[in-house]
Point group: C2
């Protein structure tokens, strides 16, 4: 494998088709494409909003077992499955999140698939792209500037400077901005107060951007953002600051979904990218519904493992947008199952069927949740690695048989779409329409809702929280926010809130440390465990290796 | 005039031509256009860099008298003159700065000309445009994050946290970010220190972006930015932090000039937009040289009055890029001359030839500087307002006659290009090639250079500064920065550093409060008077009036 080509070399070896041709495959008239060069376009949201969902449109959710350092490959599976469905003669489109530039220059590098299951043009997608994140940051930061200006100009709304929830955002990993004091330097430079910056993907504006169904809906949601509270704790909104119109103007172009292509020339929407902890972790509703209007199959992905990503996809995005996936693909790997069975990262390439067997508890729980709680047909997609042995794959196959779930081993990373053809066949066979089932009804109390997710999805015995948090929940309910669904921010590496508990821990307690109202996005965030909303750079940032030559070719991103 | 159509209505009444057609008029093959929709494109800088300047290419600098609240109209004159030159059968292109979003949502509204002398599409140009400012902010803020990360990870370079000059930037008016403390919250959240945010246009990265002649030159300049000093005061650069490659990668697309059109369908480059005080206040070298390679006439603008804008255009941009304007147009108005003659803003519409006569001292000084110091042919362009009387215009005409300078009254605001046809004729007649003359030689000392500008351009008796500032200058010279040209930041409303001194004050002293090294941009900034590098919002921000309707039409920008 030493001579395996890099992602960037693979991408360069595949010429891209003009984006008009990609649009044409989806029946998009060129007049509704707003092009960014020859290979990226936005599809006019106004045109898309007028289109009905195709009667035969199917939605595939790609989710995974609990993430491990070994990597699962949800994005490559989403891309590979889209390519495979197209190979089988279906009209399929992928719907994915936009990558944040923070990790690109930090530790992780670019994010647009990998190997022979990539999106193109990968460099553009990873740097600025169509400016959506910059527009979201501008809208968020205009709101923040208007808020601090309001304090400075006399504070007619009576905002309590100690009770301001809104933070500013940047799309960079910058830990020194987490906790800051602003407004220093004397009376002409604003009102001093504590605050901080989050990364763009952690902002409520990002979550709103991804959940809005139209520009009017976007503006209304932006107006509902609770930015601060008064001394009597009553909420102050973005609409109170008269900021939501200008914010929506800043986002008016961004909300049209971005169209790109896979290496095999199949269409992919890449639009929006909220965190999967503090927010719901899926691409925009606009992109997913565009797929359902234009293609037979829309393959989409939700962040982290199924306990976080799929749960939020179903309980938040699908509930709000009136969607239901026809089938869920749970991506698993031999390596990550061994990790959940207790194997150290350094030993994951060694065959260990016993550890693998133990680790399957993680897979079982995720599959069970999707089938029993959410009532979804499930297919297991094993993302094959070179070190996987047949004996190990057989352990996985046997378990799938016991569960009565289709399992296919896929090799899209090395083989592109044809490597996922069997998986695509299983997906087509398994897909079945139905009614959306959720983990809880919204008319339950906020406490009942978080408890339902903890016990039904995480396997917890229950939920605990301080009396201060309980009072906060009561206040939200008194203010009329009790009917909102819940968004739980916990570690992605375990079903529990303890990142070190592998497999499928049971009987644990979910401790809620803090609750936050996201009235614009339309959910209440329950913070359970450490929540990182502004990452830091590592000792040797990836940025040090990134360079551009005289001809504009960018190196070191992937 | 009550029924005069708004700028946005005028723009909407003029259909835009496809940007390919605009490019074709300049001989740009479509393959070298990177389109943003149908009406905006970047022209590939790699292709442009290979083109020679046309033998007959002429460069017109549009500058003005000292700015007053009455407004002079440099941008409308630049657009009108470009349209007029095209009407006269010349191939002319405008080269202008990109507007910052800060003022758009603050007090000033959009900036892309006005009336019948506008750029199109004006809303796009004023909001995000092609993402250049977002890319500049991202590059600047990545550098800042790498710097604070370096402190946090052990500070191997020995940076003195009290001597960090680099600030973060945002493209928003946000006074509360001027003076801040970052890195609070304990040892995992960085190293606490004082800093602040500037607006993007005030950043050295913006100045570098506008002065770079190629991607390689850009990267080198970025690497030379002095971000901080050690305890022994020795400089630490962006290259020391290994940040310049990634910064250049973030700017690799942005450095290609943006092409749009005037209302009359003539080409205009709109690219870069540094402040005219702390930086040099002109569009990018890339855009100006693109014009000189592709058109017969390139009409460009420099910020503020000629004492700041034209001086920096000539002493900084032209000197560095090997340019020389063939003619300078000094924009003046009857109203602003009356203002300089002592008339209050409220009374400017009343005829007052005596005050006008007094105010001409300001025009005389600017014209004299351009002719005598810089050796440029000059034309006076009077931007006519409805309240101007013939008697007043005659006073202006007489003075031009006495000065031996052509003067033409232009009505492009109401009449478009044909309203500036006489002015264009005078420009064509006056233009003459020559050798660039500057206000000082770079081999003079830094003190001699600032003194030359103060005495020769501002009419000052001399320069004064504290011994601390003098020591700082000596240090710059010891470090090898003594050969850099100087960039003086002072009020734009007076030749002196006192904003209230109208007309043409003489014998004043220029007090230097602070000096800053911009080693990447390649100049030393002399701060004389208050320097605002992060504006604030007014009591009632323009943003409150800005809105977008369901169809995406944005209102309230203009």
């Amino acid at each position: 494998m030493t001579s395996w080509p890099s992602d960037v070399d693979i991408a360069a070896s595949r010429p891209m088709r003009p984006i008009d041709q990609i649009g044409e495959r989806l029946g998009i008239p060129p007049a509704h494409l707003f092009r960014y060069g020859d290979h990226v376009a936005k599809v006019d949201h106004r045109w898309l909003e007028g289109l009905p969902r195709r009667a035969d449109a199917k939605l595939v959710l790609v989710t995974a077992t609990s993430p491990t350092p070994a990597g699962e490959g949800k994005t490559t599976t989403t891309v590979g499955l889209t390519d495979a469905l197209n190979l089988l003669g279906h009209k399929a489109v992928a719907a994915l999140r936009e990558p944040s530039m923070g990790p690109v220059f930090g530790m992780k590098g670019g994010a647009a698939g990998g190997g022979y299951a990539q999106l193109n043009p990968m460099t553009d997608i990873n740097l600025h792209f169509t400016g959506d994140f910059a527009a979201i940051a501008a809208a968020n930061n205009l709101l923040a500037a208007m808020l601090d200006n309001h304090l400075h100009q006399g504070n007619a709304l009576g905002i309590d400077p100690r009770r301001i929830m809104l933070k500013r955002v940047l799309d960079v990993n910058d830990r020194a901005l987490r906790d800051i004091v602003i407004g220093l330097g004397g009376p002409t430079h604003g009102v001093p107060r504590e605050t901080g910056f989050d990364i763009v993907v952690a902002s409520e504006v990002m979550a709103i951007f991804c959940l809005a169904t139209s520009l009017a809906d976007l503006k209304e949601r932006l107006g509902r953002i609770v930015v601060a509270r008064r001394q009597d704790k009553s909420p102050v909104t973005a609409a109170d600051l008269k900021a939501h119109g200008a914010m929506a103007a800043l986002l008016a172009q961004a909300i049209s979904p971005n169209l790109v292509q896979t290496l095999e020339g199949n269409p992919a929407f890449v639009h929006g990218g909220p965190f999967a902890n503090i927010a719901h972790g899926c691409n925009s509703v606009a992109a997913t519904t565009a797929g359902l209007a234009l293609a037979d199959w829309t393959v989409t992905e939700a962040g982290f493992g199924a306990d976080l990503g799929a749960e939020k996809f179903l309980d938040l995005k699908c509930r709000m947008a009136g969607l239901r996936p026809d089938v869920a693909v749970v991506v698993a790997t031999v390596r990550s199952m061994k990790y959940h069975g207790g194997v150290a990262v350094a030993d994951l390439e060694r065959e260990d069927t016993a550890a693998l067997q133990r680790g399957l508890a993680n897979l079982d729980r995720h599959v069970g949740n999707l089938r029993e709680v959410f009532g979804l047909p499930v297919v297991i997609g094993v993302n094959r690695f070179p070190s996987d042995t047949e004996a190990e794959l057989d352990v996985l196959r046997r378990r799938a048989g016991e569960l009565g779930v289709a399992l296919q081993v896929a090799t899209h990373f090395t083989d592109g779409g044809k490597g996922a053809a069997d998986l695509a066949g299983a997906v087509v066979t398994a897909a079945a329409p139905g009614t959306l089932r959720t983990a809880y009804d919204t008319d339950a109390s906020l406490l009942e809702k978080v408890t339902a997710v903890a016990t039904r999805i995480y396997g917890a015995a229950g939920v605990e929280m301080s009396s201060a948090v309980q009072r906060q929940l009561e206040q939200f309910e008194e203010e009329g926010y009790g009917a909102l669904p819940v968004c739980i921010a916990k570690t992605q590496t375990s079903f529990s809130a303890d990142p070190s508990l592998r497999g499928a821990p049971s009987g644990h307690t979910l401790t809620v440390r803090e609750v936050r109202l996201n009235a614009g996005a339309g959910f209440v965030v329950f913070v359970c465990g450490d929540l990182m909303t502004m990452p830091g750079l590592p000792k040797k940032p990836g940025a040090e290796r990134i360079d551009v030559d005289e001809d504009g070719a960018i190196h070191g991103l992937f």
